[in-house]
């Protein structure tokens, strides 16, 4: 199923992210914590949290786009 394959690809890319991006993306998008909670957990600023989240998500977006581009 396409959805399951996407999850496998997303997880592989998550594992490749720099550690802090990986933590922020997992806490926010996988585990569902909000921005304030993640800032407190990792002791980082709101702006820093957003940059790490953005870079991490953007990397995952890119591999999913590549995969979907090849599949279609």
């Amino acid at each position: 199923m396409l959805g399951d394959e996407l999850i496998v690809i997303a997880r592989r890319e998550l594992d490749n992210l720099p550690e802090r991006q990986r933590l922020v993306v997992a806490l926010r998008d996988m585990l569902g914590f909000d921005s304030t909670e993640v800032c407190e957990m990792l002791d980082i600023s709101v702006a820093n949290q957003r940059v790490l989240l953005h870079r991490g998500r953007a990397a995952v977006r890119r591999v999913l786009e590549d995969y979907l581009g090849e599949a279609s």
């Binding site: 959805g3 996407l6 999850i7 997303a10 997880r11 998550l14 594992d15 550690e19 990986r22 933590l23 993306v25 997992a26 806490l27 998008d29 996988m30 585990l31 569902g32 921005s35 909670e37 407190e40 957990m41 990792l42 957003r50 989240l53 953005h54 998500r57 995952v60 977006r61 999913l64 786009e65």
Partner: protein, 79 residues
């Protein structure tokens, strides 16, 4: 008064703030106006939504155990 839309580069920079609902009203309006006129950025935003949804479907037993311990540590320190 007409709203000046963001350009594509500006939109990319603030997409995460947009999805978090943390943009100021004016920037949000400029974001939305740009989306109306740019299929590329509409598609880009949609890809972010798919990415977030896909990450949300991952279960924690699929994670590398060392990394899972690190997540748990962050969680326990916080509580």
């Amino acid at each position: 008064m007409s709203i000046r839309p963001l350009d594509c580069n500006e939109l990319v920079e603030v997409v995460t703030a947009y999805l978090d609902g943390s943009l100021d009203l004016e920037t949000r309006a400029r974001f939305d106006v740009h989306l109306l006129e740019c299929d590329g950025c509409e598609n880009y935003l949609q890809q972010f939504r798919v990415t977030i949804k896909t990450l949300g479907k991952m279960r924690d037993d699929q994670l590398d155990p060392t990394f899972r311990d690190r997540l748990l540590a962050a969680f326990h320190n916080w509580r």
